[in-house]
Amino acid sequence: MDDLYWHLVDFLQAFAAGLLVGGTYGLMCVGLGIIFGVMRVVNFAHGDFMMLGMYAAFYLVTGFGVLAFLGPYAGPIAGAVLAGPIVFAIGWLLHKFLISRVTGARVVAAEAEGHYAQIILTLGIALVLANGGLILFGSTPLSVQTPLSRESWEIGPVFLNQARAVGFIMAVICALGLYLFLTRTNLGKALRAAADNPTAAAYVGIDVDRAHRLAFGLGVGITGVAGGLFAMSQSFQPYIGFDFVIVMYAGVVLGGMGSILGAFWGGLTIGLVQQMSTLILPYQLQNTAIFVVFLVIVFFRPQGMFGRVWERT
């Protein structure tokens, strides 16, 4: 009886940990999902934009101490949120000067050739960001110090790390905000229209290249916020993006390519599987478990959990 109780506690503990980390994954996946959904571009550099978000949050809070006046609790949270606009601006500029040359309305006609250029370019950006990060920030693992990461809320026998719990809440708020932006505002609807049918969008007067720039900036910016939130409970170095980009892709595909809300659930699922796999599998097999579940779901639902078959032509 006692044994069963502790198994149940372990299960609940892993579930809670998965939910909390999954919320942040979900936000990262939403960022990647909006870029893929609107631009149909596979952004290999996405993990590195998350890394930029982590460093942006770190320097705002700890390095230069711009946000030190907010104190140890609010400071890191504000840092994560402010990392968003910084990464947004970097993404906006990169799109304007580099990515727009291989994407957008003019490239659609070139079909496959356009995609090769996109893959090479985003891979190149990934390498430049990761190695540039190494030069600028150094290789010492850092983290955003907050007393939250050492404290827990207790719900019965289950412990919730406060840094992760706050990260989860912020991630849900950001994802919800983005959802409302896309479904309630004219600009958000125009983004969805440009994603749905770029030609028809141009006919109604939507500047598709500008919509792409906004989507790219938003996508990396949101992932930057997720990175900043994650940095409160995880140490990082300039190469961390590579570990995450594969997991983010799994989440986006799982949710259904092109479904922005689905990407959040996809990321959440990844977090749950990753944490709960430790109940039955060795710690090193976490990512293996993710891809086993990924393959099973994609086998039964190739369009992902929330993808619609007729949307793809």
Binding site: A202, Y203, R308
Partner: protein, 234 residues
């Protein structure tokens, strides 16, 4: 209102348009007819800016249209209802209409245009919350026309509104287009269904392999021996 002079368009060396000239006056209903591959859709894409011509000029309300960015052309009052409808499939009927009203003028006139569109196509009011991708072909065509009207345009360009639709629905759609024209809107129509198109228009152009083979008023074209034999099956 719209003047096209010696327009030439080529895709990878292949000439799609070979010196096409065409005119539309304010309030007119002009039809461009001709067989598949004559260059009709290319003509529309060039007017909308999706395709860039090699040579030629397009003036719209005394402005050089080729100097205007594609997304800005809708702001000038040109509404393009594309071939194959191209509704925003993953968005609701209402959102499709809202996107039609994306232009400044569309925003300003929304409170007048929306009831007008819903009166014209009552089925859209019934289906307002439905995703456009789940509508029937005829309903999607009505939505595409409604989306075009939502911008409160000066010129409505319709590309093959009859495509893939049952004859009864084609008749209904043409009747609605006629109604829109009677209410004062200038219409430029491209059609493969020559009989229906020539019957409703004021003036027509016959496009063959990228050239204007014939032009004239609705009466002269309908009476023309070649048109009757080649297109009307008489």
């Amino acid at each position: 209102m719209l003047k096209i002079r010696s327009l030439e368009v080529a895709y990878g060396g292949l000439h799609a348009l070979n010196g096409v000239s065409l005119e539309v006056e304010r309030g007119e209903f002009v039809a461009v007819v001709g067989p598949n591959g004559a260059g009709k859709t290319t003509l529309f894409k060039t007017i909308s800016g999706i395709v860039t011509p090699l040579a030629g000029a397009i003036t719209y309300m005394e402005r050089d249209l080729l100097a205007v960015a594609p997304a800005e052309r809708a702001q000038l009052g040109i509404a393009h209802v594309p071939e194959g409808r191209q509704v925003f499939a993953s968005m609701t009927v209402m959102e499709n209409l809202e996107m039609g009203a994306y232009t400044r003028k569309g925003q300003q006139r929304w409170s007048e245009t929306l009831p007008m569109i819903l009166a014209l196509f009552p089925i859209l009011a019934e289906r307002r919350a439905q995703l456009a991708g789940t509508l029937s072909g005829g309903e999607q065509q009505m939505l595409a026309i409604g989306r075009g009207l939502a911008s409160a345009p000066e010129l409505l360009m319709l590309d093959e509104p009859s495509m893939g639709l049952a004859p009864a629905i084609v008749d209904a759609i043409f009747e609605r287009i006629h109604h829109i024209h009677r209410n004062g809107l200038t219409i430029l129509l491209v059609e493969q269904r020559v009989a229906e198109a020539l019957e409703t228009c004021d003036r027509g152009y016959v496009l063959e392999t990228g050239r204007v083979a014939m032009e004239g008023t609705h009466k002269t074209l309908m009476a023309d021996e070649r048109v009757r034999r080649a297109y009307l099956g008489m």
